[in-house]
Amino acid sequence: MKQAVQAEELRPPVTSIGVIGWIKNNLFNGTPNSVLTLVTLFFLWKTVPPLFRWAFLDSAWHTTGQACREAAGACWSIISMNYRFILFGFYPYEEHWRPFLAMMILVGLLFYSRDRNHWKKTLAYAWIIGLFAMGLLMKGGLFGLPSVESTQWGGLPLTLLLAIFGLTAAYPLGVILALGRRSKMRGIKVLCILYIELIRGVPLISLLFMSSIIFPLFLPEGVTFNKILRAQVAIILFTAAYIAEVVRGGLQGMARGQYEAAESIGLNYYLTMRLIILPQALKIVIPPTVSILISAFKDTSLVVIIALFDLLKTTQSVLSNPEWMGFSREAYVFVAILYFLGCFSMSNYSRKLERELSRGD
Protein backbone atom coordinates (compact mmCIF):
# COMPACT_ATOMS: atom_id res chain seq x y z
CA MET A 1 0.00 0.00 0.00
CA LYS A 2 2.77 2.29 0.96
CA GLN A 3 4.61 1.47 -2.23
CA ALA A 4 1.56 2.32 -4.30
CA VAL A 5 1.37 5.72 -2.67
CA GLN A 6 5.00 6.28 -3.46
CA ALA A 7 4.48 5.32 -7.07
CA GLU A 8 1.62 7.82 -7.18
CA GLU A 9 3.91 10.52 -5.96
CA LEU A 10 6.52 9.71 -8.60
CA ARG A 11 4.19 10.23 -11.55
CA PRO A 12 5.16 13.12 -13.82
CA PRO A 13 3.10 16.31 -13.43
CA VAL A 14 -0.27 16.26 -15.24
CA THR A 15 0.79 19.13 -17.46
CA SER A 16 3.53 17.09 -19.14
CA ILE A 17 1.64 13.93 -20.12
CA GLY A 18 -1.65 12.98 -21.74
CA VAL A 19 -3.76 15.31 -23.83
CA ILE A 20 -2.80 18.44 -21.94
CA GLY A 21 0.87 17.55 -22.16
CA TRP A 22 0.62 16.90 -25.88
CA ILE A 23 -1.15 20.21 -26.51
CA LYS A 24 1.39 22.04 -24.46
CA ASN A 25 4.35 20.39 -26.15
CA ASN A 26 3.13 20.56 -29.71
CA LEU A 27 0.90 23.61 -29.99
CA PHE A 28 1.95 26.10 -27.31
CA ASN A 29 5.67 25.60 -26.78
CA GLY A 30 6.92 29.16 -26.99
CA THR A 31 5.41 32.40 -28.19
CA PRO A 32 5.79 32.01 -31.99
CA ASN A 33 4.14 28.59 -31.99
CA SER A 34 1.32 29.79 -29.74
CA VAL A 35 0.63 32.67 -32.13
CA LEU A 36 0.71 30.32 -35.12
CA THR A 37 -1.70 27.95 -33.39
CA LEU A 38 -4.15 30.75 -32.66
CA VAL A 39 -3.96 32.08 -36.23
CA THR A 40 -4.54 28.59 -37.62
CA LEU A 41 -7.49 28.01 -35.32
CA PHE A 42 -9.02 31.32 -36.42
CA PHE A 43 -8.51 30.42 -40.08
CA LEU A 44 -10.13 27.00 -39.61
CA TRP A 45 -13.07 28.56 -37.75
CA LYS A 46 -13.60 30.93 -40.68
CA THR A 47 -13.33 28.34 -43.46
CA VAL A 48 -14.45 24.90 -42.30
CA PRO A 49 -18.08 25.63 -41.31
CA PRO A 50 -18.95 27.41 -44.60
CA LEU A 51 -17.24 24.67 -46.59
CA PHE A 52 -19.16 22.04 -44.67
CA ARG A 53 -22.43 23.91 -45.27
CA TRP A 54 -21.66 24.22 -49.00
CA ALA A 55 -20.64 20.60 -49.44
CA PHE A 56 -23.22 18.87 -47.26
CA LEU A 57 -26.04 20.96 -45.73
CA ASP A 58 -27.09 23.16 -48.65
CA SER A 59 -26.08 20.78 -51.43
CA ALA A 60 -28.25 19.08 -54.04
CA TRP A 61 -27.48 15.40 -54.48
CA HIS A 62 -29.86 13.90 -56.97
CA THR A 63 -31.75 16.58 -58.87
CA THR A 64 -31.93 18.12 -62.31
CA GLY A 65 -29.59 20.93 -63.28
CA GLN A 66 -32.46 23.39 -62.93
CA ALA A 67 -33.11 22.42 -59.30
CA CYS A 68 -29.38 22.65 -58.69
CA ARG A 69 -29.31 26.30 -59.66
CA GLU A 70 -31.86 27.07 -56.94
CA ALA A 71 -29.87 25.30 -54.24
CA ALA A 72 -27.40 27.47 -52.32
CA GLY A 73 -24.74 24.77 -51.90
CA ALA A 74 -22.85 22.31 -54.01
CA CYS A 75 -24.48 20.61 -56.96
CA TRP A 76 -23.39 16.99 -56.58
CA SER A 77 -26.18 16.13 -58.98
CA ILE A 78 -23.77 16.77 -61.81
CA ILE A 79 -21.92 13.69 -60.63
CA SER A 80 -24.86 11.50 -59.71
CA MET A 81 -26.73 12.25 -62.96
CA ASN A 82 -23.68 11.94 -65.22
CA TYR A 83 -21.29 9.57 -63.53
CA ARG A 84 -21.81 6.89 -66.15
CA PHE A 85 -20.61 9.22 -68.90
CA ILE A 86 -17.77 10.63 -66.81
CA LEU A 87 -16.49 7.15 -65.98
CA PHE A 88 -17.05 5.39 -69.30
CA GLY A 89 -17.30 8.09 -72.00
CA PHE A 90 -18.88 7.00 -75.26
CA TYR A 91 -18.76 3.30 -74.46
CA PRO A 92 -22.24 1.92 -75.35
CA TYR A 93 -24.48 2.54 -72.36
CA GLU A 94 -25.91 -0.94 -71.96
CA GLU A 95 -22.38 -2.47 -72.13
CA HIS A 96 -20.93 -0.38 -69.28
CA TRP A 97 -20.70 -3.46 -67.07
CA ARG A 98 -17.87 -4.67 -69.29
CA PRO A 99 -15.30 -1.89 -68.63
CA PHE A 100 -16.50 -1.91 -65.03
CA LEU A 101 -15.77 -5.61 -64.70
CA ALA A 102 -12.43 -5.15 -66.47
CA MET A 103 -11.45 -2.44 -63.97
CA MET A 104 -12.52 -4.65 -61.08
CA ILE A 105 -10.28 -7.46 -62.39
CA LEU A 106 -7.41 -4.97 -62.68
CA VAL A 107 -7.89 -3.58 -59.18
CA GLY A 108 -8.23 -7.10 -57.79
CA LEU A 109 -5.01 -8.23 -59.46
CA LEU A 110 -3.13 -5.13 -58.31
CA PHE A 111 -4.40 -5.61 -54.79
CA TYR A 112 -3.45 -9.28 -54.76
CA SER A 113 0.02 -8.45 -56.12
CA ARG A 114 0.65 -6.09 -53.20
CA ASP A 115 1.83 -8.94 -51.03
CA ARG A 116 5.28 -10.16 -52.01
CA ASN A 117 4.48 -13.61 -50.67
CA HIS A 118 2.08 -13.94 -53.60
CA TRP A 119 4.81 -13.33 -56.18
CA LYS A 120 4.86 -16.81 -57.64
CA LYS A 121 4.28 -18.43 -61.01
CA THR A 122 0.53 -18.59 -60.42
CA LEU A 123 0.46 -14.80 -60.12
CA ALA A 124 2.06 -14.46 -63.55
CA TYR A 125 -0.56 -16.79 -65.01
CA ALA A 126 -3.29 -14.84 -63.21
CA TRP A 127 -2.02 -11.64 -64.82
CA ILE A 128 -1.89 -13.21 -68.28
CA ILE A 129 -5.43 -14.56 -67.95
CA GLY A 130 -6.58 -11.29 -66.37
CA LEU A 131 -5.10 -9.17 -69.17
CA PHE A 132 -6.68 -11.39 -71.77
CA ALA A 133 -10.06 -11.18 -70.01
CA MET A 134 -9.79 -7.40 -69.74
CA GLY A 135 -8.96 -7.08 -73.41
CA LEU A 136 -11.85 -9.33 -74.33
CA LEU A 137 -14.28 -7.40 -72.13
CA MET A 138 -13.23 -4.06 -73.55
CA LYS A 139 -13.07 -5.06 -77.20
CA GLY A 140 -15.77 -7.72 -77.38
CA GLY A 141 -16.50 -9.56 -80.63
CA LEU A 142 -16.20 -13.01 -79.04
CA PHE A 143 -18.50 -15.18 -76.91
CA GLY A 144 -21.55 -13.12 -77.93
CA LEU A 145 -20.14 -9.84 -76.65
CA PRO A 146 -20.89 -7.10 -79.17
CA SER A 147 -17.70 -5.59 -80.57
CA VAL A 148 -16.84 -2.10 -79.31
CA GLU A 149 -14.34 -0.09 -81.33
CA SER A 150 -11.48 1.40 -79.36
CA THR A 151 -12.51 4.85 -80.64
CA GLN A 152 -15.45 4.54 -78.26
CA TRP A 153 -13.33 3.79 -75.23
CA GLY A 154 -13.05 6.59 -72.76
CA GLY A 155 -13.18 7.82 -69.19
CA LEU A 156 -11.58 6.03 -66.29
CA PRO A 157 -10.82 2.74 -68.10
CA LEU A 158 -8.86 4.68 -70.73
CA THR A 159 -6.93 6.61 -68.08
CA LEU A 160 -6.08 3.39 -66.22
CA LEU A 161 -5.14 1.62 -69.45
CA LEU A 162 -2.75 4.38 -70.51
CA ALA A 163 -1.29 4.74 -67.02
CA ILE A 164 -0.81 1.13 -65.99
CA PHE A 165 0.49 -0.19 -69.30
CA GLY A 166 2.50 2.97 -69.79
CA LEU A 167 4.23 2.57 -66.45
CA THR A 168 4.77 -1.19 -66.53
CA ALA A 169 6.31 -0.98 -70.00
CA ALA A 170 8.31 2.19 -69.31
CA TYR A 171 9.99 0.79 -66.18
CA PRO A 172 11.91 -2.10 -67.75
CA LEU A 173 12.69 0.03 -70.80
CA GLY A 174 14.09 2.72 -68.51
CA VAL A 175 16.27 0.19 -66.69
CA ILE A 176 17.65 -1.10 -70.00
CA LEU A 177 18.37 2.47 -71.14
CA ALA A 178 20.17 3.22 -67.87
CA LEU A 179 22.34 0.11 -68.24
CA GLY A 180 22.95 1.02 -71.88
CA ARG A 181 24.07 4.49 -70.97
CA ARG A 182 26.69 3.03 -68.62
CA SER A 183 27.73 0.36 -71.12
CA LYS A 184 31.33 0.04 -72.22
CA MET A 185 30.19 -0.51 -75.80
CA ARG A 186 30.38 2.88 -77.42
CA GLY A 187 27.64 2.41 -79.98
CA ILE A 188 25.05 1.34 -77.43
CA LYS A 189 26.12 4.08 -75.04
CA VAL A 190 25.78 6.83 -77.65
CA LEU A 191 22.40 5.53 -78.78
CA CYS A 192 21.06 5.52 -75.22
CA ILE A 193 22.39 9.00 -74.47
CA LEU A 194 20.84 10.32 -77.69
CA TYR A 195 17.52 8.72 -76.90
CA ILE A 196 17.38 9.96 -73.32
CA GLU A 197 18.48 13.50 -74.10
CA LEU A 198 16.21 13.85 -77.14
CA ILE A 199 13.12 12.57 -75.36
CA ARG A 200 13.80 14.59 -72.23
CA GLY A 201 14.33 17.64 -74.39
CA VAL A 202 10.74 17.78 -75.65
CA PRO A 203 7.47 18.09 -73.75
CA LEU A 204 5.09 15.14 -73.63
CA ILE A 205 2.51 17.18 -75.54
CA SER A 206 4.77 17.45 -78.55
CA LEU A 207 5.44 13.71 -78.46
CA LEU A 208 1.70 13.07 -78.41
CA PHE A 209 1.19 15.42 -81.34
CA MET A 210 3.96 13.72 -83.26
CA SER A 211 2.52 10.30 -82.60
CA SER A 212 -0.96 11.34 -83.73
CA ILE A 213 -0.19 13.75 -86.59
CA ILE A 214 3.33 13.31 -87.93
CA PHE A 215 3.80 9.58 -87.45
CA PRO A 216 0.87 8.57 -89.74
CA LEU A 217 2.47 10.60 -92.56
CA PHE A 218 5.30 8.06 -92.66
CA LEU A 219 2.96 5.10 -92.98
CA PRO A 220 1.94 3.78 -96.38
CA GLU A 221 -1.54 4.72 -97.49
CA GLY A 222 -4.30 2.68 -95.94
CA VAL A 223 -2.20 1.56 -92.98
CA THR A 224 -3.43 3.08 -89.77
CA PHE A 225 -2.39 2.53 -86.22
CA ASN A 226 -4.82 2.58 -83.39
CA LYS A 227 -4.85 6.07 -81.88
CA ILE A 228 -4.83 4.81 -78.30
CA LEU A 229 -1.87 2.59 -79.08
CA ARG A 230 0.02 5.55 -80.51
CA ALA A 231 -0.65 7.66 -77.42
CA GLN A 232 0.36 4.69 -75.28
CA VAL A 233 3.66 4.36 -77.09
CA ALA A 234 4.36 8.08 -76.71
CA ILE A 235 3.74 7.87 -72.95
CA ILE A 236 5.96 4.80 -72.63
CA LEU A 237 8.85 6.37 -74.56
CA PHE A 238 8.57 9.59 -72.60
CA THR A 239 8.41 8.05 -69.13
CA ALA A 240 11.20 5.56 -69.87
CA ALA A 241 13.70 8.36 -70.49
CA TYR A 242 13.03 9.83 -67.05
CA ILE A 243 13.14 6.47 -65.30
CA ALA A 244 16.44 5.75 -67.05
CA GLU A 245 18.10 8.77 -65.48
CA VAL A 246 16.80 7.97 -62.01
CA VAL A 247 18.00 4.38 -62.29
CA ARG A 248 21.38 5.59 -63.56
CA GLY A 249 21.66 7.64 -60.38
CA GLY A 250 21.07 4.47 -58.36
CA LEU A 251 23.67 2.56 -60.37
CA GLN A 252 26.26 5.26 -59.79
CA GLY A 253 25.57 5.05 -56.07
CA MET A 254 26.72 1.43 -55.99
CA ALA A 255 30.15 0.78 -54.49
CA ARG A 256 32.80 -0.52 -56.86
CA GLY A 257 33.40 -3.39 -54.44
CA GLN A 258 30.02 -4.91 -55.19
CA TYR A 259 30.91 -5.28 -58.87
CA GLU A 260 34.33 -6.68 -57.96
CA ALA A 261 32.94 -9.18 -55.47
CA ALA A 262 30.40 -10.39 -58.04
CA GLU A 263 33.06 -10.65 -60.74
CA SER A 264 35.49 -12.42 -58.43
CA ILE A 265 33.09 -15.33 -57.91
CA GLY A 266 32.73 -15.63 -61.67
CA LEU A 267 29.33 -14.03 -62.31
CA ASN A 268 29.00 -12.65 -65.83
CA TYR A 269 27.70 -9.16 -66.63
CA TYR A 270 24.07 -10.21 -66.94
CA LEU A 271 24.03 -12.15 -63.66
CA THR A 272 25.97 -9.44 -61.82
CA MET A 273 23.38 -6.88 -62.83
CA ARG A 274 20.39 -9.08 -62.20
CA LEU A 275 21.42 -10.61 -58.87
CA ILE A 276 23.67 -8.04 -57.25
CA ILE A 277 23.54 -4.55 -58.71
CA LEU A 278 19.96 -3.93 -59.83
CA PRO A 279 18.25 -5.29 -56.69
CA GLN A 280 20.26 -2.83 -54.62
CA ALA A 281 20.24 0.11 -57.03
CA LEU A 282 16.52 -0.09 -57.77
CA LYS A 283 15.76 -0.20 -54.06
CA ILE A 284 17.73 2.98 -53.47
CA VAL A 285 15.78 4.82 -56.16
CA ILE A 286 12.27 3.76 -55.15
CA PRO A 287 11.29 7.25 -53.88
CA PRO A 288 12.29 9.21 -57.02
CA THR A 289 10.93 6.44 -59.26
CA VAL A 290 7.55 6.64 -57.60
CA SER A 291 7.56 10.41 -58.10
CA ILE A 292 8.03 9.84 -61.82
CA LEU A 293 5.33 7.18 -61.94
CA ILE A 294 2.88 9.44 -60.12
CA SER A 295 3.53 12.37 -62.40
CA ALA A 296 3.28 10.08 -65.44
CA PHE A 297 -0.09 8.87 -64.18
CA LYS A 298 -1.35 12.43 -64.00
CA ASP A 299 0.24 13.31 -67.35
CA THR A 300 -2.00 10.80 -69.08
CA SER A 301 -4.65 13.54 -68.93
CA LEU A 302 -2.68 15.31 -71.69
CA VAL A 303 -4.08 12.87 -74.22
CA VAL A 304 -7.11 15.20 -74.48
CA ILE A 305 -5.09 17.22 -76.96
CA ILE A 306 -5.20 14.38 -79.45
CA ALA A 307 -8.93 14.02 -78.84
CA LEU A 308 -8.92 10.93 -76.69
CA PHE A 309 -11.69 11.00 -74.10
CA ASP A 310 -9.91 10.22 -70.90
CA LEU A 311 -11.38 10.87 -67.47
CA LEU A 312 -10.70 14.61 -67.54
CA LYS A 313 -12.10 15.08 -71.04
CA THR A 314 -15.36 13.23 -70.32
CA THR A 315 -15.80 15.48 -67.28
CA GLN A 316 -15.27 18.57 -69.41
CA SER A 317 -17.79 17.25 -71.93
CA VAL A 318 -20.43 17.03 -69.23
CA LEU A 319 -19.62 20.61 -68.24
CA SER A 320 -20.23 21.80 -71.79
CA ASN A 321 -23.80 20.50 -71.60
CA PRO A 322 -26.04 23.60 -71.09
CA GLU A 323 -27.95 21.90 -68.29
CA TRP A 324 -24.78 21.43 -66.19
CA MET A 325 -22.78 24.43 -67.26
CA GLY A 326 -21.20 26.29 -64.37
CA PHE A 327 -20.84 23.40 -61.95
CA SER A 328 -17.17 22.87 -62.72
CA ARG A 329 -16.12 23.07 -59.06
CA GLU A 330 -18.09 19.98 -58.12
CA ALA A 331 -17.05 18.07 -61.23
CA TYR A 332 -13.37 18.81 -60.77
CA VAL A 333 -13.50 17.94 -57.06
CA PHE A 334 -14.85 14.55 -58.07
CA VAL A 335 -12.12 13.98 -60.67
CA ALA A 336 -9.48 15.22 -58.25
CA ILE A 337 -10.61 12.63 -55.71
CA LEU A 338 -10.27 9.85 -58.29
CA TYR A 339 -6.77 10.98 -59.28
CA PHE A 340 -5.82 11.33 -55.64
CA LEU A 341 -6.93 7.78 -54.88
CA GLY A 342 -4.74 6.51 -57.72
CA CYS A 343 -1.66 8.51 -56.73
CA PHE A 344 -2.05 7.92 -53.02
CA SER A 345 -2.30 4.16 -53.40
CA MET A 346 0.86 4.23 -55.54
CA SER A 347 2.89 6.08 -52.92
CA ASN A 348 1.37 3.92 -50.21
CA TYR A 349 2.42 0.77 -52.01
CA SER A 350 5.92 2.06 -52.58
CA ARG A 351 6.36 2.82 -48.89
CA LYS A 352 5.22 -0.69 -48.03
CA LEU A 353 7.65 -2.12 -50.57
CA GLU A 354 10.50 -0.03 -49.21
CA ARG A 355 9.83 -1.24 -45.68
CA GLU A 356 9.80 -4.86 -46.80
CA LEU A 357 12.99 -4.51 -48.83
CA SER A 358 14.95 -2.74 -46.11
CA ARG A 359 15.01 -5.76 -43.82
CA GLY A 360 18.72 -6.27 -44.56
CA ASP A 361 19.87 -2.80 -43.50
Binding site: G257, A261, E263, S264, I265, G266, L267, G360, D361
Partner: protein, 252 residues
Protein backbone atom coordinates in the same frame (compact mmCIF):
# COMPACT_ATOMS: atom_id res chain seq x y z
CA UNK B 1 51.88 -24.53 -34.54
CA UNK B 2 53.59 -26.62 -37.11
CA UNK B 3 52.62 -26.05 -40.69
CA UNK B 4 54.09 -28.10 -43.50
CA UNK B 5 56.10 -25.62 -45.49
CA UNK B 6 57.02 -27.64 -48.49
CA UNK B 7 55.15 -26.78 -51.62
CA UNK B 8 54.23 -29.61 -53.92
CA UNK B 9 55.20 -29.84 -57.55
CA UNK B 10 53.50 -27.95 -60.35
CA UNK B 11 52.96 -24.34 -61.23
CA UNK B 12 49.78 -22.47 -60.37
CA UNK B 13 50.42 -18.88 -61.39
CA UNK B 14 53.08 -17.35 -63.56
CA UNK B 15 53.89 -13.67 -64.23
CA UNK B 16 56.27 -12.96 -67.11
CA UNK B 17 57.54 -9.37 -67.39
CA UNK B 18 54.12 -7.90 -66.53
CA UNK B 19 53.64 -4.15 -66.89
CA UNK B 20 50.65 -2.00 -66.07
CA UNK B 21 49.96 1.71 -66.21
CA UNK B 22 47.18 3.76 -64.58
CA UNK B 23 47.16 6.60 -67.08
CA UNK B 24 50.75 7.87 -66.92
CA UNK B 25 51.52 6.11 -63.65
CA UNK B 26 53.64 2.99 -64.16
CA UNK B 27 52.20 0.87 -61.36
CA UNK B 28 53.68 -2.55 -62.27
CA UNK B 29 57.18 -2.37 -63.74
CA UNK B 30 58.13 -5.77 -65.06
CA UNK B 31 56.87 -8.35 -62.58
CA UNK B 32 58.29 -11.86 -62.81
CA UNK B 33 56.80 -14.30 -60.36
CA UNK B 34 56.02 -17.97 -60.29
CA UNK B 35 53.72 -19.50 -57.67
CA UNK B 36 53.63 -23.26 -57.18
CA UNK B 37 50.62 -25.31 -56.24
CA UNK B 38 50.04 -25.25 -52.47
CA UNK B 39 52.57 -22.46 -52.08
CA UNK B 40 51.74 -19.61 -49.69
CA UNK B 41 53.10 -16.18 -50.46
CA UNK B 42 52.85 -13.00 -48.42
CA UNK B 43 53.36 -9.69 -50.21
CA UNK B 44 54.18 -6.58 -48.25
CA UNK B 45 55.34 -3.10 -49.10
CA UNK B 46 54.44 0.55 -48.67
CA UNK B 47 51.11 1.83 -49.93
CA UNK B 48 51.09 2.62 -53.63
CA UNK B 49 53.80 0.04 -54.31
CA UNK B 50 51.50 -1.98 -56.57
CA UNK B 51 50.92 -5.04 -54.36
CA UNK B 52 47.10 -4.89 -54.53
CA UNK B 53 47.25 -4.25 -58.26
CA UNK B 54 49.49 -7.28 -58.64
CA UNK B 55 47.04 -9.73 -57.10
CA UNK B 56 44.04 -8.04 -58.72
CA UNK B 57 45.66 -8.83 -62.08
CA UNK B 58 45.44 -12.53 -61.28
CA UNK B 59 41.64 -12.59 -61.59
CA UNK B 60 41.54 -9.75 -64.09
CA UNK B 61 39.95 -7.16 -61.83
CA UNK B 62 42.81 -5.14 -63.33
CA UNK B 63 44.07 -5.62 -66.85
CA UNK B 64 47.80 -5.82 -67.49
CA UNK B 65 49.10 -4.09 -70.60
CA UNK B 66 52.32 -5.94 -71.33
CA UNK B 67 53.72 -9.36 -70.54
CA UNK B 68 51.96 -12.64 -69.81
CA UNK B 69 49.96 -13.96 -66.86
CA UNK B 70 49.12 -17.65 -66.83
CA UNK B 71 46.75 -19.03 -64.18
CA UNK B 72 46.35 -22.80 -63.89
CA UNK B 73 47.48 -23.25 -67.47
CA UNK B 74 45.13 -20.64 -68.92
CA UNK B 75 46.65 -17.42 -70.21
CA UNK B 76 44.80 -14.23 -69.30
CA UNK B 77 43.81 -12.61 -72.55
CA UNK B 78 40.72 -10.74 -73.59
CA UNK B 79 38.61 -13.83 -74.00
CA UNK B 80 35.63 -13.27 -71.73
CA UNK B 81 34.95 -17.00 -71.33
CA UNK B 82 38.52 -17.62 -70.18
CA UNK B 83 38.29 -14.81 -67.68
CA UNK B 84 35.06 -16.08 -66.18
CA UNK B 85 36.53 -19.56 -65.96
CA UNK B 86 39.59 -18.27 -64.13
CA UNK B 87 37.51 -16.14 -61.80
CA UNK B 88 35.51 -19.19 -60.76
CA UNK B 89 38.80 -20.98 -59.88
CA UNK B 90 40.39 -18.05 -58.05
CA UNK B 91 38.85 -16.93 -54.76
CA UNK B 92 39.32 -13.37 -53.60
CA UNK B 93 38.90 -11.75 -50.19
CA UNK B 94 38.77 -7.96 -50.09
CA UNK B 95 39.81 -5.39 -47.53
CA UNK B 96 36.22 -4.16 -47.19
CA UNK B 97 34.59 -7.64 -47.28
CA UNK B 98 32.21 -6.66 -50.11
CA UNK B 99 29.44 -8.97 -48.99
CA UNK B 100 26.11 -8.51 -50.77
CA UNK B 101 24.07 -6.52 -48.25
CA UNK B 102 20.65 -7.40 -49.72
CA UNK B 103 21.18 -11.15 -49.30
CA UNK B 104 21.36 -13.30 -46.18
CA UNK B 105 24.66 -14.89 -45.24
CA UNK B 106 23.70 -18.27 -46.64
CA UNK B 107 22.45 -16.64 -49.85
CA UNK B 108 25.75 -14.77 -50.15
CA UNK B 109 27.55 -18.09 -50.02
CA UNK B 110 25.31 -20.17 -52.26
CA UNK B 111 24.94 -17.55 -55.01
CA UNK B 112 28.14 -18.44 -56.84
CA UNK B 113 27.69 -22.22 -56.76
CA UNK B 114 24.05 -21.93 -57.88
CA UNK B 115 24.55 -19.50 -60.77
CA UNK B 116 28.11 -20.16 -61.89
CA UNK B 117 28.54 -23.85 -61.08
CA UNK B 118 24.85 -24.71 -61.66
CA UNK B 119 24.73 -26.63 -58.38
CA UNK B 120 21.19 -27.49 -57.20
CA UNK B 121 20.01 -25.01 -54.57
CA UNK B 122 19.75 -27.53 -51.76
CA UNK B 123 23.22 -28.90 -52.33
CA UNK B 124 24.67 -25.38 -52.60
CA UNK B 125 23.12 -24.45 -49.27
CA UNK B 126 24.53 -27.56 -47.64
CA UNK B 127 27.98 -26.61 -48.96
CA UNK B 128 27.42 -23.09 -47.65
CA UNK B 129 26.60 -24.41 -44.19
CA UNK B 130 29.67 -26.67 -44.28
CA UNK B 131 31.97 -23.71 -44.93
CA UNK B 132 30.18 -21.53 -42.40
CA UNK B 133 30.89 -24.21 -39.81
CA UNK B 134 34.45 -24.12 -40.94
CA UNK B 135 34.80 -20.39 -40.29
CA UNK B 136 32.92 -20.87 -36.97
CA UNK B 137 29.91 -18.76 -37.83
CA UNK B 138 27.13 -21.19 -38.81
CA UNK B 139 24.70 -19.73 -36.29
CA UNK B 140 24.58 -16.45 -38.27
CA UNK B 141 23.46 -18.11 -41.53
CA UNK B 142 20.04 -16.47 -41.74
CA UNK B 143 21.18 -12.97 -40.82
CA UNK B 144 22.10 -10.16 -43.17
CA UNK B 145 25.70 -8.89 -43.47
CA UNK B 146 24.80 -5.57 -41.84
CA UNK B 147 23.95 -7.40 -38.62
CA UNK B 148 27.44 -8.91 -38.27
CA UNK B 149 30.68 -7.49 -36.87
CA UNK B 150 33.59 -6.74 -39.17
CA UNK B 151 35.50 -9.86 -38.21
CA UNK B 152 32.42 -12.02 -38.75
CA UNK B 153 31.80 -10.40 -42.14
CA UNK B 154 35.35 -11.08 -43.24
CA UNK B 155 35.06 -14.72 -42.20
CA UNK B 156 31.82 -14.94 -44.20
CA UNK B 157 33.67 -13.43 -47.17
CA UNK B 158 36.34 -16.14 -46.87
CA UNK B 159 33.65 -18.82 -46.71
CA UNK B 160 31.95 -17.30 -49.75
CA UNK B 161 35.13 -17.73 -51.78
CA UNK B 162 35.66 -21.27 -50.47
CA UNK B 163 32.18 -22.30 -51.61
CA UNK B 164 33.40 -22.01 -55.19
CA UNK B 165 36.03 -24.62 -54.34
CA UNK B 166 38.86 -22.43 -55.66
CA UNK B 167 42.37 -23.57 -56.53
CA UNK B 168 43.93 -20.32 -55.32
CA UNK B 169 42.87 -17.82 -52.69
CA UNK B 170 43.87 -14.17 -52.98
CA UNK B 171 43.70 -11.97 -49.89
CA UNK B 172 43.87 -8.20 -50.41
CA UNK B 173 44.71 -6.71 -47.00
CA UNK B 174 42.04 -8.83 -45.29
CA UNK B 175 42.58 -7.42 -41.81
CA UNK B 176 43.34 -3.75 -42.54
CA UNK B 177 39.75 -2.58 -42.11
CA UNK B 178 39.19 -4.51 -38.89
CA UNK B 179 39.22 -3.38 -35.29
CA UNK B 180 42.29 -4.83 -33.50
CA UNK B 181 40.33 -7.32 -31.41
CA UNK B 182 38.85 -8.90 -34.53
CA UNK B 183 42.07 -9.43 -36.46
CA UNK B 184 42.92 -12.67 -34.70
CA UNK B 185 39.66 -14.47 -35.52
CA UNK B 186 40.23 -13.78 -39.23
CA UNK B 187 43.90 -14.75 -39.16
CA UNK B 188 43.01 -17.98 -37.34
CA UNK B 189 40.67 -18.94 -40.15
CA UNK B 190 43.38 -18.17 -42.70
CA UNK B 191 45.90 -20.30 -40.78
CA UNK B 192 43.46 -23.23 -40.73
CA UNK B 193 43.08 -22.79 -44.48
CA UNK B 194 46.86 -22.86 -44.88
CA UNK B 195 47.09 -26.07 -42.88
CA UNK B 196 44.82 -27.73 -45.42
CA UNK B 197 47.22 -26.92 -48.23
CA UNK B 198 45.42 -24.11 -50.00
CA UNK B 199 47.48 -22.07 -52.46
CA UNK B 200 47.40 -18.55 -51.04
CA UNK B 201 48.68 -15.13 -52.00
CA UNK B 202 48.19 -12.67 -49.17
CA UNK B 203 48.80 -8.94 -49.22
CA UNK B 204 49.18 -8.03 -45.57
CA UNK B 205 51.31 -6.29 -42.99
CA UNK B 206 50.61 -8.95 -40.35
CA UNK B 207 54.20 -10.09 -40.01
CA UNK B 208 53.37 -12.70 -37.39
CA UNK B 209 51.10 -14.35 -39.91
CA UNK B 210 53.84 -14.16 -42.55
CA UNK B 211 56.38 -15.81 -40.24
CA UNK B 212 54.19 -18.74 -39.31
CA UNK B 213 52.40 -19.43 -42.58
CA UNK B 214 54.28 -18.16 -45.63
CA UNK B 215 56.73 -20.12 -47.74
CA UNK B 216 57.97 -16.88 -49.23
CA UNK B 217 57.67 -13.23 -48.29
CA UNK B 218 57.92 -10.68 -51.10
CA UNK B 219 58.67 -7.01 -50.62
CA UNK B 220 57.36 -4.64 -53.27
CA UNK B 221 58.22 -1.00 -53.84
CA UNK B 222 57.63 1.34 -56.81
CA UNK B 223 55.98 -1.36 -58.90
CA UNK B 224 58.79 -3.88 -58.57
CA UNK B 225 59.40 -6.96 -56.47
CA UNK B 226 62.48 -5.73 -54.59
CA UNK B 227 63.23 -8.99 -52.85
CA UNK B 228 61.68 -12.28 -51.93
CA UNK B 229 62.87 -14.88 -49.47
CA UNK B 230 61.81 -17.40 -46.88
CA UNK B 231 60.35 -15.68 -43.81
CA UNK B 232 63.35 -16.61 -41.67
CA UNK B 233 65.85 -15.03 -44.07
CA UNK B 234 63.55 -12.16 -45.00
CA UNK B 235 63.15 -10.93 -41.44
CA UNK B 236 66.65 -11.82 -40.21
CA UNK B 237 68.73 -10.70 -43.17
CA UNK B 238 66.91 -8.25 -45.39
CA UNK B 239 69.14 -7.56 -48.39
CA UNK B 240 68.01 -4.16 -49.60
CA UNK B 241 68.06 -0.82 -47.84
CA UNK B 242 64.41 -0.15 -48.65
CA UNK B 243 63.38 -3.49 -47.17
CA UNK B 244 65.30 -2.72 -43.99
CA UNK B 245 63.69 0.71 -43.74
CA UNK B 246 60.23 -0.72 -44.30
CA UNK B 247 60.68 -3.49 -41.74
CA UNK B 248 62.01 -1.05 -39.15
CA UNK B 249 58.94 1.10 -39.71
CA UNK B 250 56.34 -1.63 -39.30
CA UNK B 251 58.05 -3.78 -36.67
CA UNK B 252 58.87 -0.82 -34.41
Amino acid sequence: MNIEKKASEGQMIEFLDVHKWFGEFHVLQGINLSVDKQERIVICGPSGSGKSTLIRCINRLEEHQRGRIVVDGIELINNIKNIEKIRAEVGMVFQHFNLFPHLTIVQNLSLGPIWVRKTPKKEAEETAMYYLEKVHIAEQARKYPGQLSGGQQQRVAIARSLCMNPKVMLFDEPTSALDPEMIKEVLDVMIELAQEGMTMIVVTHEMGFAKSVAHRVLFMDFGKIVEGNTPEEFFKNPQHERTKLFLSQILH
